[in-house]
Amino acid sequence: MAHRRRLALALAGLGCAVGVPIAAVTAQEHDPGTAKGPEVEATVGDRPAASKQVLECTGAQEPANFRIYSAGREFDGLPLTTVIRRCDNADPMGSANYVSYIYGTCTPQPAPGKDYVDSGCAPPLEIQTWPSCERTFGHYQGSARARMRPELRGVPVAEVDDWVELYTADSTVVVFGTDPERVERAIAAVQPLERGASPATFPPRLQRATSLPAPEPGALSVGKECSS
């Protein structure tokens, strides 16, 4: 991404230098006639088609093979700033597969006593959706740091460390945030994307439902087989 952005800046700079407008190509998507859309970051690896442990990767511009959840084009006054489609190459020592909607932004600050930045910062709100066969409550087996809470919107909800997970249909929705009350509001507000909608579509095409579909049989346990 940084390379694409730097290339875009370089092209734009070259365009200014020679007096010729050059359209800087970035990964941003735009909603014609309305506000600028979010940045879309997609990294899609190779996965074996026949695997039962992981789903095949889908791209940001095509419908995912599990249900995706979002809080819309803005939430709590925070605009949708970035959509991430991350699907890593299969690897026994770690392999993420999710769609993430990030609301608001933050600016990394220089470390104390330094004139340069030495760490990142946490955006105000992030909503990740994983396929439940790759991430579910069962993965936290026995940990006191992962606790089931009373059901919300008809589905199981867990508090894990500093985040909240919601288990619905074939998906696990994970909400991270800098404000615990906003995280709770987000859990109450997330909606599934319409069938056939791609994660990068802006604004997100959402269904409207107060209750959510119950998790598929076995979806809270480790070992549920993945199927596209």
Binding site: M93, G113, E126
Partner: protein, 215 residues
């Protein structure tokens, strides 16, 4: 059907025993979810709004002290550079859920600019048996000026800079005979870097066994 598939489809008694033992080990590994610290390091107070990096390693064993871990990183990874800023981590002071926000105890890297880098923390509750770590690969980004500084590599098909840093460190220790177990920790939040990119962990922490003294 491959031989491995055939063996798993029709397991012999010995194979069944191995599978059961393996499953037991896997459950043991999963139950090692990080009670010893929170899932993220922080700039300043150990609170959500200050989180900056995922914890993705723990050095576990009879000789799991900070000093022995540092010697291990220097010996097995040849990461000897000590530059970088400090970060904090909420670490366990006992096994019943009390935490204190402590500054890192040490850091090591394989260079000054674009580099592999790890920060480590002693776990008071474990009395010299556990050290938590946050490893990553970061680029030194100077353009556009002024120089922004260190930015962890963004998410890629082989993971983010956090995952690559963990993998690199683990590879070095495994090459010197240390066992490593992947554990699901779930700390997959993304962090904005100074070059505008986002990077997050794949959610797996690695438990590295440390059963001997590093000279």
């Amino acid at each position: 059907m491959s031989r491995r598939d055939r063996v798993l489809a029709h397991p012999r008694p010995l194979t069944r025993l191995i599978v059961v033992l393996w499953a037991g080990l896997a459950i043991f590994a999963f139950s090692a979810f990080p009670w010893f610290s929170r899932g993220f390091t922080a700039n300043g107070l150990c609170q959500d709004q200050n989180y900056t990096d995922p914890v993705n390693l723990v050095f576990d064993g009879t000789y799991g002290s900070v000093s022995n871990t540092v010697r291990g990183i220097e010996n097995h990874n040849n990461w000897t550079n000590t530059s970088g800023s400090s970060q904090n981590l909420a670490v366990a002071t006992n096994t019943s859920g009390s935490y204190v926000c402590n500054a890192m105890n040490a850091q090591r890297a394989d260079g000054t600019f674009s580099r592999f880098h790890v920060r480590i923390w002693n776990i008071p509750a474990a009395t010299g048996r556990l050290v938590a770590g946050s490893a990553h690969h970061e680029d030194w980004v100077t353009w556009p000026p002024p120089p922004c500084g260190h930015a962890v590599d963004s998410n890629g098909s082989n993971g983010s800079g956090f995952d690559q840093g963990r993998r690199k460190l683990v590879d070095g220790w495994q090459a010197h005979g240390h066992s490593a177990n992947g554990v699901w920790w779930g700390n997959t939040r993304n962090f904005r870097q100074c070059d505008g990119d986002l990077a997050g962990s794949d959610g797996v922490g690695v438990v590295l066994n440390q059963p001997h003294v590093h000279q």
